[in-house]
């Protein structure tokens, strides 16, 4: 058996798996509509065809058997029930695994008999219990393994280290736009050249053309950027699937509400936030949502609600994960924080600070470690990933009413909205996604406390920190208490608002992020560079990292 592995087939697998899953997720437990069957049949048939062309006969058979089930569902000789739905998910998971193996140039065997035997039992109406389907699982797995051993000989091993290329699906309209802009660019370039050859550079139309070119270049940059942007729809589908799996395992009744799946983010960002969001969702279902009995006795609806919504703002996206469960347990977290030595017993801590303790490595308040949300190895990683993207996590929790995780994430890593600020005689760039607000310092009374300066912002005292001091620029020892034109930028770090002083806010602009060389990659607080409009290099600060105490002098 020789198969030519073709990278072009990978998106084909992804698209079809996505197609199947989209339909599966909408399926109810009680009935399947003809329309739904037709959609599935359409995907199965097309995919079967392309599998045959790619020489993947086993995959084609696997799909063919699935088609047979659909035919019987349509004719009514199979009666729909929830165990068929469960089987569908298991069935498509195998294709997913097949795709992953294919990307590594490996051929995973697919068990056609397994599909056939399910088909038969559905027909006889024998398998109606979910548990029964589950019991079959280990058996099929071992079968697959055995087959795998047999087939291994045929698999070319040489190319196993090959890293598969990544693909992005994009709206054709975006590409068309880009083509149009590039066309305009070329035309206007030749117009300019023409004036140059005629030695006629002072013509009024030269200036007009330059103006027009500015617009085109701007359009091209936006348009190029948009090619990397994908809607969070796929992520949301995954969330829905996992949430329904988890609530099933945890035996909790759950309604999942998804909003804003059209919001677009850079593909890399979507890939990176997927695991953290799934982790938060697992936690919310496992630890947040209470058992139905408890909910009813607390006067809540029996069914818990999990809302995941994405909102697009100017330069960031906000993703909210809200549950209507029991809320975070302040006492239990405090107890744990004491135990772990994060705080001392005499420390006074606000709710926001308490919620942020869960981001400490190894922090888990669940008295019972469950299969679902694991052993508290996750939340610190979640935070790290989000902050690595220059984003932010904010927790609000109301005892008895539920918890909200708000993730603020930049739309793109390649172009960010940056605030250019001056500190002494140097300019720095701060991502707007990290900032909560800016303050005119002369409007505030700065007070001195034991730990340093604070100001009163809407009833709360927040620390005032000098950015120049943090950046090792300030040699003065006297701390200024009265300010003239200095501004303060407010950020939220570990649940605490902190303001830091800059001499001037110069402007807010779109910044094309340039990577630093490897030699500066691990310097905390510096997240990259940029070429500013005067051609000088600029430094993008990661304020979160600087202020979170992540910076340690060696």
């Amino acid at each position: 058996m020789t198969i030519e592995f073709d990278d072009d087939f990978l998106p084909e697998i992804d698209e079809n798996v996505e197609g199947f899953e989209t339909v599966f997720l909408e399926l109810s437990d009680k009935s399947i509509s003809e329309d739904e069957i037709n959609k599935l049949a359409f995907y199965a048939h097309n995919f079967k065809g392309s599998s045959q062309i790619a020489g993947l006969n086993e995959l084609a058979k696997y799909l063919h058997e699935f088609e047979n089930i659909l035919v019987d569902l349509k004719s009514g000789s199979i009666v729909w029930n929830s165990s068929i739905k469960l089987f569908f998910f298991q069935w498509v998971d195998k294709i997913k695994d097949f795709g992953k193996a294919y990307a590594k140039k490996e051929l995973m065997p697919l068990d056609v008999d397994w599909v056939q035997s399910h088909h038969q039992s559905f027909k006889q109406g024998t398998v109606s219990d979910v548990a029964e389907v589950k019991n079959e699982e280990p058996e099929t797995k071992s079968e697959v393994l055995k087959k795998e051993e047999l087939d291994q000989k045929d698999i070319p091993k040489s190319e196993k280290t090959h890293s598969s290329p990544e693909f992005i699906r994009t709206n054709l309209e975006k590409l068309d736009n880009l083509f149009n802009y590039v066309g305009e660019l070329v035309i206007n370039q030749s117009i300019l050249n023409n004036y140059k050859e005629q030695n006629n550079l002072n013509d009024k139309r030269v200036f007009e053309t330059i103006e027009y070119l500015n617009k085109i270049v701007h359009d091209i940059s936006t348009s190029t950027l948009s090619l990397r942007m994908i809607p969070v729809k796929k992520l949301f589908q995954k969330i829905k699937r996992i949430a329904s799996d988890v609530s099933g395992t945890a035996n909790k009744q759950l309604k999942i509400v998804l909003k804003g799946d059209e919001v677009e983010l850079d593909k890399t960002i979507v890939d990176k936030i997927t695991d953290p969001i799934i982790h938060i969702i697992k936690n919310a279902i496992d630890h947040g949502i209470e058992d139905s009995e408890l909910r009813v006795s607390n006067g809540k609806p029996r069914e818990g609600t999990l809302i995941v919504k994405a909102i697009q703002k100017e330069s960031v996206a906000e993703i909210y994960i809200e549950d209507d469960g029991g809320g975070l347990n302040r006492e239990r977290i405090l107890e744990k924080a004491l135990e772990k030595g994060i705080i001392k017993s005499e420390d006074e801590v606000t709710d926001d600070q308490v919620w942020n303790f869960i981001f400490h490595p190894g922090f888990s308040t669940a008295s019972q470690v469950t299969e679902i949300s694991g052993r508290g190895v996750g939340m610190d990683v979640v935070k790290k990933v989000i902050e690595g993207l220059q984003g932010n996590i904010i927790i609000t929790s109301d005892p008895g009413k539920g918890t909200v995780f708000k993730l603020v994430i930049p739309l793109s890593l390649s172009i960010i909205n940056g605030m250019i600020v001056r500190v002494h005689d140097e300019n720095f760039i701060i991502p707007v996604s990290q900032l909560v607000e800016t303050l005119e310092l002369k409007n505030f009374n700065i007070e001195k406390t034991g730990k340093g300066r604070v100001l009163n912002l809407r009833g709360g005292l927040i620390p005032v920190i000098s950015l120049s001091k943090i950046l090792n620029k300030n040699k003065e020892t006297v701390e200024k208490m009265v300010f003239d034109n200095e501004k303060a930028l407010v950020v939220q770090v570990d649940g605490e608002r902190i303001s830091f002083v800059v001499d001037e806010i110069i402007e807010q602009q779109q910044i094309v992020v340039k990577k630093f060389g490897k030699e500066m990659e691990e310097v905390p607080g510096l997240s990259g560079g940029a070429i500013l409009s005067d051609g000088e290099p600029g430094i993008i600060l990661n304020i979160q990292e600087i202020l979170a105490g992540g910076v340690r002098h060696v």
Binding site: K473, K514, F516, E519, M520, V523, L526, E536, P537, V551
Partner: protein
């Protein structure tokens, strides 16, 4: 083997023995030409917080951000303010870094039998990037491996 091939072989050997010779505080240094991407005139650098003194900052090299270090400070040499200086752009597997020196002297062939890898002399800089002393007539040239001078652990004053 055809004549052309033999010639290509020869020039390959030549390249391996070719060194860019530069000057710091009137001392001569040589680096393998293979490690060098280009040489530019000294240009003002944008300072970067949390880096060591000899890390001068970053520059915009045709749209790319490049770190620049002052080799004179790194080697504890006196800085001659009158020298305008040149920045040698060194390319390693991982990165490109600019290295500021007083002056560029020339490009020379230095063959293996002209290099003393174990000379009896006291170095005022770390031995780890010292390759040996090349002897060219009257001149002694300190041959160094610049890629070893620009390790990331070495440049910053802080860590995560």
């Amino acid at each position: 083997m055809s004549e052309n091939n033999a010639q290509a072989q020869l020039s390959q050997d030549d390249i391996n023995n070719r060194y860019l010779v530069f000057e710091i505080n009137s001392e001569l240094f040589g680096v393998s030409l293979l490690d060098i991407k280009e040489v530019i005139k000294n240009t003002p650098c944008k300072p970067v917080p949390y880096m060591k003194d000899y890390f001068l900052g970053i520059i915009n090299l045709r749209g790319r951000i490049i770190s620049v270090i002052d080799l004179r400070l790194k080697f504890n040499k006196e800085i001659n303010k009158e020298k305008q200086g040149f920045i040698i752009i060194v390319e390693t597997e991982e990165t490109q870094v600019g290295v500021l020196v007083d002056d560029i002297v020339n490009v020379q062939n230095i063959y293996k039998d002209e290099i003393d890898t174990n000379p009896h002399l006291e170095l005022d800089f770390s031995k780890q990037f010292f390759l040996g002393v090349g002897k060219k007539g009257e001149n002694l040239i300190n041959l160094i491996d610049l890629s070893k001078c620009i390790t990331k652990e070495d440049m910053r004053t802080i860590s995560k």
